[in-house]
């Protein structure tokens, strides 16, 4: 297993594409087994995307072993999603529903990505 080595442009493009595909699948809202593609895009959004930016933000100067890196990405993504959703719900007042949950996840990714960008603009992904 290898952590992907991406340029910043590639990274943003892939993440934007993932969100776009997921948004389209959510809009189509297929049920039953045809709903599986949306599950396949939901898992990365929940388990990897925000965590990947958190990982770059916190560990940019280090090179953790691959399994450690994978684990940090996944666990930080889930934990951040949960805490951010709680914050958005309790403090901002955003209700839990399908659209808002998508917005919660998207806003988390955007905020962490911007924070990562501002923290050290010249560092590469």
């Amino acid at each position: 297993m290898r952590m992907p080595k991406l340029t910043r442009t590639e990274l943003y493009t892939y993440v934007a594409l993932l969100y776009l595909v997921h948004a389209i699948l959510t809009f189509i809202n297929l049920q039953g087994l045809l709903g599986i593609p949306r599950l396949l895009t939901a898992i990365p959004l929940l388990f990897f995307v925000p965590g990947f930016f958190i990982y770059i933000l916190l560990f940019r100067t280090e090179m953790p072993e691959e399994f450690t890196a994978y684990f940090i990405v996944a666990i930080s993504s889930v934990a951040a999603n949960i805490l951010w959703a709680l914050f958005m719900n309790k403090v901002v007042g955003l209700q839990f529903n399908e659209v808002n949950i998508f917005l919660m996840n998207l806003s988390l990714t955007v905020i962490v990505a911007v924070a990562e960008r501002l923290a050290k603009p010249k560092a590469s992904a």
């Binding site: 709903g35 898992i43 916190l58 560990f59 100067t61 666990i75 934990a79 949960i82």
Partner: protein
């Protein structure tokens, strides 16, 4: 040749597993209105064990290429972690924790907001810990899965993606050896307390272990780890109380143990006696510890105060005293039929459980025994009796666990496997301790000591019926035990030989079977419990799709209202129907279902006092015992037709609802 054989064994094992699972589901589908299903209707249980053995054996063959062994291990872990949704024949959450987890998550979507005071029954308590419900809501909202599916599959997905990797990196950091790391993963997933069903601990424990790994084992920069572990710590605190308290105690213990080791290492004479004194002490940074304890304290004393106070009083009563007060109610009728808003229907008093009182420092016997008073001052008396109470509690706890296992729904063969497996694990750990005594680190040593102590506490908690601690402790404790168990296994196979390989394979299969037989949530053993050992609960043996439909009707009619029913009703109607069910009033339940044609005035008043709007009864009550009594005679279940103050409003082959029509003033 061996590789070809191994690949095919894995494939054949998977095929047999799928065949077995489909057969089980077909039987349940065909008998949905005739539950519980009995053993002769089901495919042979040996198919399950054969399939698992075929999948696992390639992992145990040490000379095989690592890729095959990882496939074997990965598939075995998948089947264990996903056992809850795979083995649920109607795709419904079974068991109290899972059912109330569904209600808690559904409440988030229904109301739109997290409210720590929402929910009924178990959900009311767990709404104080929103970590897992929010995760379920996020998974459901993002993936489009129904909340039922999100609850069924959510935690297994989370654990399958995270836990094997975490366990591997923890033990790889300890052993610096890939094969021993993989063996550690196998043994961890063979532990008897895996929380793969939708339970808050199953998520929080991953956060907890991650914090430990990042601070104590990884070589990452502490400044980088700080922020991440605070996020994980906060997530853990809002997810599960017990796990958070374990984390707190583990941290405190490591500090104290580190202090002890440091102290001992300064005394030169101990260098030769203690191999521990040379160990490098590694603990948490003070700043992180204080912040995490602060978060835990704030949450425990505000949102989670109910659970916190329960733990504090429970631990104090259990460990340090033998006084176990239980709330009971006087069974005599009320003196007068006073207006309902003026007096409670029953008087409450504290009664002491006399067999457990004998060694209580507070007991009457201890206070009045002239022998004790003569020989000791009151203070000495207190501490000696407390120490005596601790030892007696351990003995009583052992006896209670063994007797409960014997009285439970285990077959004799299953009990034999469990005890043999635990004995083998113990031997392996002892061997491993001596084999590794020059190598193990402070982390391993402190974990071993902490979890050894905590197992003893778990045994003592069994005395007062807190068996849930003992049954779940291994998921934590294996982190402390695995280094020594794996070292024992490694010592065993350090010399080559056919018989050593055979024994190694047999031992791993035995350990796996032991853990698999004791799993709590969603496991195949429940399918094959002999009918005379059935216990009425909300497992898939009793929860049919028809019952689930009934709960929807109950939700439409009684949501948020008080229903009188026993434990099966508490789990199903209370959880799915979001009604308040008075399971924790055993005297009330006993009075309502008492084996006569009567319902006493006392029971009627108590029903009204509790705002009971309906009584629920069902056919299983006459057939099987539950944790709240039974089995009851026919008249106990049918008598509700005889009273004009009860009105039958729901009637199916299984369930009847009677609304309470009278107005007492």
């Amino acid at each position: 040749m061996w590789e070809w054989f191994s690949y095919n064994a894995i494939l054949a094992g998977l095929a047999i597993y799928i065949y077995w699972l489909l057969q089980v589901r077909i039987v349940f589908a065909a008998n949905a209105d005739k539950l519980p299903v009995t053993i002769p209707q089901l495919p042979s249980q040996s198919l399950y064990w054969i399939s698992l053995a075929m999948i696992i054996i390639p992992f145990t063959l040490l000379h095989l290429r690592r890729r095959i062994r990882i496939i074997s291990l990965g598939l075995a872990i998948f089947l264990v972690v996903f056992s809850f949704p795979l083995l649920s024949p109607y795709n419904l959450p079974n068991g109290r924790d899972a059912q109330y987890a569904l209600q808690t998550a559904q409440n988030l979507i229904d109301t739109g907001f997290w409210n720590p005071a929402s929910g009924t029954g178990q959900a009311l308590g767990y709404s104080n810990y929103p970590g897992l419900p929010i995760y379920h809501a996020l998974l459901s909202g993002l993936s489009g899965m129904s909340m039922n599916d999100a609850v069924m599959w959510g935690l297994p997905i989370f654990r399958f993606l995270l836990l094997p990797v975490l366990i591997f990196i923890i033990f790889y950091a300890i052993f610096k050896n890939v094969d021993m790391g993989l063996l550690s993963v196998f043994i961890y997933f063979a532990n008897p307390s895996l929380t793969n069903h939708p339970h808050y601990e199953g998520m929080a424990i991953v956060f907890m272990f991650a914090i430990f790994y990042l601070w104590l084992l990884s070589d990452l920069k502490k400044s980088s780890v700080f922020g991440l572990t605070l996020v994980l710590g906060f997530a853990m605190v809002i997810t599960h109380h017990f796990t958070s308290y374990m984390m707190f105690m583990w941290m405190v213990f490591i500090f104290a143990f580190g202090f002890f080791i440091t102290l001992v290492s300064r005394i030169r004479v101990f260098d030769r006696v203690y191999p521990f004194s040379s160990k490098k002490v590694v603990t948490f940074p003070i700043g992180f510890s204080l912040i995490l304890i602060g978060i835990l304290g704030l949450w425990s004393l505000s949102v989670g105060y109910g659970q916190f106070s329960t733990y504090v009083s429970g631990l104090d009563n259990t460990i340090f005293s033998r006084l176990n007060p239980t709330v009971s109610q006087d069974d005599t009728p009320p003196v007068s039929a006073a207006p309902m808003n003026l007096s409670a229907p029953s008087t409450m008093q504290l009664e002491q459980d006399s067999p457990l009182m004998l060694s209580s420092p507070y007991s009457l016997a201890a206070q009045t025994d002239p022998e004790i008073q003569r020989t000791q001052s009151p203070e000495q008396n207190l501490y000696l009796l407390k120490a005596q109470g601790v030892f007696q509690n351990i003995g009583d706890g052992f006896k209670k666990i063994i007797s409960l296992l014997q009285l439970g729904n285990f077959k004799n063969l299953e009990l034999a496997v469990v005890f043999t497996g635990l004995a083998v694990l113990m031997v392996l750990m002892i061997v491993g301790f001596f084999a590794r005594k020059d190598d193990f680190t402070f982390f391993e040593l402190s974990n071993m000591a902490f979890y050894g102590l905590f197992i003893i506490v778990g045994i003592m908690l069994s005395v007062v019926g807190r068996l849930n601690v003992m049954s779940r402790i291994f998921e934590f404790a294996y982190i402390g035990f695995i280094p020594f168990a794996v070292a024992g296994l490694a010592w065993f196979v350090s010399k080559e030989g056919l018989w050593r390989q055979v024994m190694f394979t047999v031992v791993l299969l035995l350990l796996f079977a032991t853990g698999n037989l004791l799993l709590v949530g969603g496991q195949q053993r429940y399918f094959y419990v002999p009918e005379d050992k059935f216990i009425l609960d909300s497992s898939f043996m009793f929860l049919s799709p028809g019952s689930y439909e009934m709960t929807k009707w109950a939700k439409d009619n009684f949501k948020g209202k008080d229903i009188i029913g026993e434990s099966f009703a508490f789990d199903t109607i209370g959880a799915f129907g979001a009604t308040r069910v008075h399971y924790y009033e055993p005297r009330l339940i006993q009075r309502v279902y008492q084996p006569t044609n009567l319902i006493t005035d006392r029971a009627r008043f108590q029903i009204k006092w509790d705002n009971g709007v309906a009584i629920v009864t069902h056919k299983y009550l006459t057939g099987y015992p539950s944790h709240s009594g039974g089995p009851y005679p026919e008249e106990s279940v049918q008598k509700f037709n005889n009273f004009d103050w009860l009105n039958k409003v729901y009637d199916s082959n299984t369930f009847q609802f009677f609304t309470v029509e009278e107005q007492i003033t």
